[in-house]
């Protein structure tokens, strides 16, 4: 193995290399996958026979809650992220991701978030309200201990990790492709990664808002999910599934991308209809936002026809992919490697899961199947038959590239057949169990129910899957310790990662290869006319990001914040202070480093600017969800005061004017920085921050006045929605003021000049966004009758 693999632990803690971070993601996620797997085996042991006594009812609730949460957020998502991290820069011909330190921060936040969630076992309070956390089961009244707090805080922390990663990969893919690699020349795995990152940055804000409401209900006594106060329990289900259904595609599309790389390589044919496969992936992502309510057909929410149709429509692009994969195999010179076994396994098993999914698009059928084991079978055919098989295909396909060693193909194929058989034995009978009435989430059943035999069979199958995973671990260990060395291109691959050594050097490629079309590398190797082989060695002027300790320390600060929320406010304050200090150190670490000055990419725009625009797109969903909740709850409070009794419109008009004028000062500040007019730049930056502070002063006055008038967070739905919406906007203004003051201090110290204009510009974009959000709030909350 490469010497890089045996360097001291400290170098892994401070690493910002995408390949090492990919390995960290992979190892961490696999360990969490084992934890989730053990939880699954305990569930199956408990249900193996009637009247099971392996665990108590309370422990069973915790097991299925933690199993679902762990597998979704700590196993499948980060296993996908492992491939994003390791492979995407290699596949697009980049030396790293756009923001390497942010990438490290995403990983460390994931690790601490996962440890925090599982620490709930150590204090005897594991979450036990289901991975869906339906309100009001999660309220203090019905779940008084800290278990739900562990769950909601860890999901918030993990959400930060996913968001940072999502923005990072969108910028990387859009802005860092090799010369000639147009969007349609990108490998399908990169396309699916791009779609998934958009799903992440757009789908996570609604669940974040839902979790904020839950946190405020539990910690501060707000009324979001309080039916007695007029609250609507459907609200949680909407917010959860607006995230939850795109989450299915977040989990499965990377596997589709892997299969789209594996099948052409081992069929020795181009992917059939590659553009259509790409468009299908994009359509799946788009439709994914319109089908969430099929998870709620049984909740009695009213009109469902449009949502039912959308759910049926989404099967079309999915079916297109299936047929394209089959057509890729058709007539190919197929090499039956383990990776191909898993890829073909996915095509078959996911089709079964997809077909049972279409059944749920029909509300009458869905009503029969909801909360039965039929749904358990369906979702496992999608997430094991789909995601996990795809991940194993990727593991066998890219293992030689990552480790420089080959896995044992015979053992791999044995593993495939064991997992394939175990999986079908475990989950196919569950369709039948659901059809004959076995509900999900029950911890035991009586022999008279007639479910005994198929439950026993299912448990045997689950242990078959566990045996298969054990075989993979043996194979991996043997490969790492005495596996045959892998060449740079052991599979006669088609994409760029196979051009570089196995494992790749620190700088990925000696020379960034130019791209002439899809599968350029394969066409080069096989001598297609018109393709000029890329030059080989050029080590000059390669800048690689330096290691940094600030990502891990910042993540630690965030973890302390979460711990503080469960222990003492002093810990919260300490964690917040530590996090802010680390964030400043993080932000200023490479300030004025010439190597970091030039960050323009393929779009002709600086990485940081693209990242801020992506973030603002995500913020549209965050504030959109807050505003939608305010409007949905408007007029539903069962006690006063009502908005028209208390809102001071003249005063708010003044504060609105103040904020609009702060935006004018902000553009004047940017123009001054771009002209290198230091005096004006300071003046306008100070003016913008001052106007921001005046706006906050208005808000403080308004809030204290309302409290004196009897309107508090806890008073009624209007108080809860108003204070949280405007409070979060005020929080954003506060962040903006701190950002502007930091720029001002840099300027006063002579460290902000024309070359730093993009830093002022991105701060300005954030500031103007805060302004336009207020334009919407002013109209919808204050002015609307």
């Amino acid at each position: 193995m490469s010497a890089a693999w045996v360097t001291p632990a400290a170098s892994w803690i401070t690493t910002v290399d995408h390949k090492r971070i990919g390995v960290l993601y992979g190892v961490t996620a696999f360990l969490f996958f084992l934890v989730g797997g053990v939880e699954a085996l305990l569930i199956r042991l408990q249900l193996a026979g009637p009247g099971g006594r392996v665990v108590s009812a309370e422990t069973y609730n915790a097991l299925f809650t933690m199993h679902g949460t762990t597998m979704v957020f700590l196993a499948i998502m980060p296993l996908n992220a492992a491939f994003f991290n390791y492979m995407v820069p290699l596949l697009i011909g980049a030396r790293d991701v756009a923001f390497p330190r942010l990438n490290a921060l995403s990983y460390w936040i994931l690790l601490f978030g996962g440890l925090f969630l599982n620490a709930s076992f150590l204090v005897g309070a594991p979450p036990d309200a289901g991975w869906f956390g339906y309100a009001n089961l999660t309220s203090k009244q019905f779940t008084p201990g800290p278990s739900v707090d562990f769950w909601l805080l860890s999901l918030q922390v993990l959400g930060v990790s996913s968001m940072l990663g999502g923005i990072n990969f969108i910028v990387t893919i859009l802005n860092m492709r090799a010369p000639g690699m147009t969007l349609m020349r990108m490998p399908v795995f990169v396309w699916m990664t791009l779609v998934v990152q958009f799903l992440i940055v757009l789908a996570f804000p609604p669940i974040t808002v839902g979790l904020i409401f839950l946190m405020f209900d539990r910690f501060f006594g707000t009324r979001f999910y309080d039916v007695a106060a007029g609250g609507d329990l459907h609200l949680w289900q909407h917010l959860f599934w607006i995230f939850g259904h795109p989450e299915v595609y977040i989990l499965i599309l990377p596997a589709f991308g892997i299969v789209s790389e594996v099948l052409p390589t081992f069929a020795r044919k181009p992917l059939f209809g590659a553009p259509v496969v790409i468009y299908s992936g994009v359509l799946i992502g788009f439709f994914g936002f319109g089908v969430w309510s099929h998870h709620m057909f049984a909740a009695g929410m009213g009109p469902v026809a449009a949502l039912s149709i959308a759910t049926m429509l989404i099967a079309i692009p999915t079916g297109v992919k299936i047929f394209n994969w089959l057509a890729t195999l058709w007539g190919g010179a197929i090499r039956t490697t383990t990776a191909l076994h898993f890829a073909v396994g996915l095509v078959g098993l996911f089709t079964i899961g997809g077909l049972s999914g279409i059944m749920h698009a029909s509300p009458p059928v869905d009503l029969q199947q909801t909360d039965s084991y039929f749904v358990v079978a369906h979702l496992h055919y999608v997430l094991i038959g789909g995601s996990l098989f795809g991940l194993f295909a990727g593991a066998y396909y890219w293992w030689p590239k990552i480790t420089g060693r080959l896995l044992d193909e015979r053992l791999g194929k044995l593993q495939f057949w064991v997992v394939f058989a175990g999986f079908n034995v475990a989950f196919f009978p569950q369709h039948y169990l659901g059809a004959i009435g076995m509900p999900r989430r029950i911890y035991t059943y009586s022999a008279a129910a007639g479910w005994t035999f198929w439950n026993a069979v299912s448990t045997v199958g689950a242990f078959g899957i566990a045996l298969g995973v054990l075989l993979f671990m043996v194979n991996a260990w043997r490969s790492l310790t005495r596996g045959a060395p892998a060449s740079a291109d052991p599979w006669d691959g088609r994409t760029l990662e196979w051009r570089t050594s196995s494992p790749p050097p620190l700088h990925d490629f000696d020379t960034i290869p130019p791209i002439y079309g899809r599968d350029t590398f394969w066409r080069e190797k096989h001598g297609r006319p018109g393709i000029v082989p890329a030059p080989t060695h050029d080590h000059t002027h390669i800048h690689l990001p330096a290691p940094s300790r600030w990502p891990v320390l910042t993540a630690l600060g965030i973890a302390v914040l979460a711990i503080g929320a469960l222990t003492h406010v002093a810990v919260v304050l300490a964690g917040a202070l530590f996090t802010v200090v680390c964030m400043f150190a993080f932000a200023l670490e490479h300030h004025r480093n010439p190597a970091h000055a030039q960050q323009d990419g393929d779009l002709g725009v600086d990485h940081r600017k693209v990242a801020v625009w992506v973030f603002l797109g995500s913020e549209c969903f965050f504030f959109g969800t807050l505003i939608a909740t305010y409007l949905a709850y408007n007029g539903r409070s069962v006690v006063g005061p009502e908005p028209h009794q208390i809102l001071n419109i003249p005063l708010t008009t003044l504060s609105t004017f103040d904020l609009l004028m702060s935006s004018l000062l902000m553009v004047l500040a940017l123009a001054a920085v771009q002209r290198d007019d230091r005096r004006q730049a300071r003046l306008w930056l100070f003016g913008t921050a001052l106007f921001g502070l005046i706006f906050l002063g208005f808000q403080v006055y308004e809030f204290t006045h309302f409290v004196r008038e009897g309107l508090t967070l806890q008073r009624n739905l209007f108080g809860s929605t108003f204070f949280v919406l405007t409070g979060f906007h005020g929080g954003h203004v506060t962040v903006g003021v701190v950002w502007l003051l930091a720029l001002l201090i840099l300027d006063l110290r002579g460290r902000l000049g024309r070359v730093d204009a993009v830093k002022v510009e991105v701060a300005g974009l954030y500031w103007h966004f805060v302004d336009i959000v207020w334009i919407a709030i002013f109209t919808l909350v204050y002015l609307m009758p």
């Binding site: 859009l174 757009l202 609507d232 459907h234 909407h238 607006i242 936002f289 929410m301 009213g302 009109p303 449009a306 010439p594 000055a597 030039q598 779009l603 002709g604 725009v605 600086d606 600017k609 693209v610 625009w613 992506v614 797109g617 549209c620 969903f621 959109g624 969800t625 505003i627 939608a628 909740t629 409007l631 949905a632 408007n634 419109i649 003249p650 008009t653 004017f657 609009l660 004028m661 935006s663 004018l664 004047l668 123009a671 771009q674 002209r675 024309r754 070359v755 204009a757 510009e761 300005g764 103007h768 302004d771 336009i772 334009i775 919407a776 002013f778 109209t779 919808l780 002015l783 009758p785």
Partner: protein, 100 residues
């Protein structure tokens, strides 16, 4: 090092936009007190608000001058988020788009 960034609009344009934003804000404040406008108050306020929103995005955030890709990155999510708000309000009964 970066090339010197290009200014997106003149100072005069910024001042004109700020003046329009101020006038429209004053109009928004005024129209809620004009009883004759009550039947069209909601659409009128929405149009005025959307106009302010667009002015800030196009001129202060420079979307009128910048790469079209940035417009796609922002306007796509904005449109989806607007659809989400409408769908959520419909499904929670705040108002009906399609009817029951």
């Amino acid at each position: 090092m970066n090339e010197p960034p290009v200014e997106h609009a003149s100072i005069g344009t910024y001042l004109k936009v700020a003046a329009i934003l101020s006038v429209v804000t004053a109009l928004e404040f005024a129209v809620i007190y004009i009883r004759a406008l009550t039947p069209i108050l909601v659409p009128l306020l929405l149009v005025l608000s959307a106009g302010k929103f667009a002015l800030v995005v196009l001129f202060f955030m420079h979307l009128r001058y910048d790469s079209r890709a940035l417009a796609v990155l922002f306007c796509g999510p904005l449109a989806l988020a607007t659809g989400l708000v409408l769908a959520l309000m419909t499904l929670t009964g705040a108002f009906l788009v399609l009817g029951r």
